[in-house]
């Protein structure tokens, strides 16, 4: 998956987790929690959805990489490079 495809995959996950959020104006550089109503349970769901959908494991010590879209995509890039886009 390319970075753009990974970003689209994360957007899709966020839409599943928080269907009421408008993600069209999401600022990739800003932290998710400053732009969306996401609590720790929702964050866990990003990790769980990545595992469920793409078999990508994110160990607990790496959770800090998932704070914003930009950091999430760059963290996931090596892990998801070999996954074919849908």
């Amino acid at each position: 998956m390319s970075p753009a495809e990974i970003r689209a995959a994360v957007i899709d996950i966020l839409e599943t987790i928080a269907p009421d959020e408008d993600l069209s104006n999401l600022d990739d550089a800003k932290e998710f929690r400053d732009q969306m109503e996401l609590d720790s349970m929702d964050f866990l769901d990003i990790v769980m959805e990545l595992r469920k959908r793409y078999r990508v494991q994110v160990p607990e010590e790496d959770y800090e990489n998932l704070v914003s879209m930009a950091s999430t995509v760059s963290y996931l890039e090596p892990k998801m490079a070999d996954i074919p886009a849908e």
């Binding site: 599943t16 928080a18 109503e37 866990l44």
Partner: protein
Amino acid sequence: MYDSIIIGAGMSGLAAGIRAAYYDQKVCVLERHYTIGGLNSFYRLRGRNYDVGLHAVTNFTPPGAKKGPFARLLRQLRMKWDDFGLSPQLMSSISFPGIELQFDNNIDLLRSEVSKEFPQQIDNFDKLIASLIDYDDLEQKHFEVSTRERLQEIITDPLLVEMILCPIMWYGNPREKDMDWGQFCIMFRSLFLEGFARPFDGVRLILKKLVRKFRELGGELKLRTGVSQIKIDNGRAVGVVLDSGEELSGNNILSSAGAVETFKLCDSDEQLHAHTTGQLSFVEAISTLDKYPRELGHNKTIVFFNDSETFHWERPTDDFCDVRTGVVCTPNNYCYDEKDGDLPEGVMRVTALADYERWRAVDQSDYQSQKQSWFDQVQASAARFVPDYRPHVIDTDMFTPHTIHRFTWHENGAVYGATRKWLDGKTDINNLFLCGTDQGFVGIIGSIVSGISMANQHLLARS
């Protein structure tokens, strides 16, 4: 071999099951009763539908709200606001002799009532709200601080303290006399800052939605399947023995059976926790009327009443029931959709404190006559605070602490469970966790959130 075995198909067990199944676990929910719901169940009698438990779904927030437990559980269960079919309350009250505080789902009404009846206290009342609005401290030590002491520091009129405590203790305090401050804060928000609502079809609607979701995700629900023992190997829970003798093994076990009830299944250190067994149980006198309550001039959803200036929240010691305080619930009095109209008949439900031990020990023939006698006393007590509906009663039913124990297996028929809570859901046994009432959240939304968060922490995060 299951990834997760969940004991109890109530709100918390089903919600936990949905979370585990959604993330592809092999999971089963085991329920001893022949139906779902646990403490929030339902039944049909002489052609009429009854709810057990549910007076009002607390924690109500309107569609689109992103904060609060209800919004959180919808996200976590991937459900829609409409799935719960909630209609908000009309208006409720806290009624003491000669004084009443009305409230609805907007805190402004309660504030204006407090400033009208207790003009000296309104600033203190605002201070109270400010002190608990962001309360998020689930640290056991801080959670267990005395509510009475905290309230007396903030509110200087003892009558107002009693009037605030009455509805909050009624809707979720497992302890006698005093209450854990953490529990108080959670309950205050769920009653007054969020609010009351009810699905037109009652609690069965929510339960059926949860079960359907659980099954669609591949979860197994086994009714009439009681657990007689939790198998432990080297300090680690490894499976369960069913009442039938059959054994199931699982990586994790999450129990909503209650804390003491769960420890009993482990034959281990139950004595260690026996003193935490809850003492508070209830009777409820349910009447079907030949008129709608509003036709009798009754427009309130819930009335919390108390017949003196002091509110006594304790197990009755010298009789079967204590009817000095009670709750009158009128399921007709919600803002239902026009397409639904009103319920088919008028219904009044009155709940009072009761002594489990007396109701358990009484013999079968006397049980019926005690029930009749206390039905009348409970209704008579309520008739002091709501229009007297007794001439209009066409059908009745009543549950006692004995009924609660018989269908939920909760010790003492204690609806709000043990007097201490296991906030992190952990037990002394590895891989055995608690959810539901004894984990710490009560009410329908609270129990669902309990199931979700315990599943997240213990069934999913470590798998």
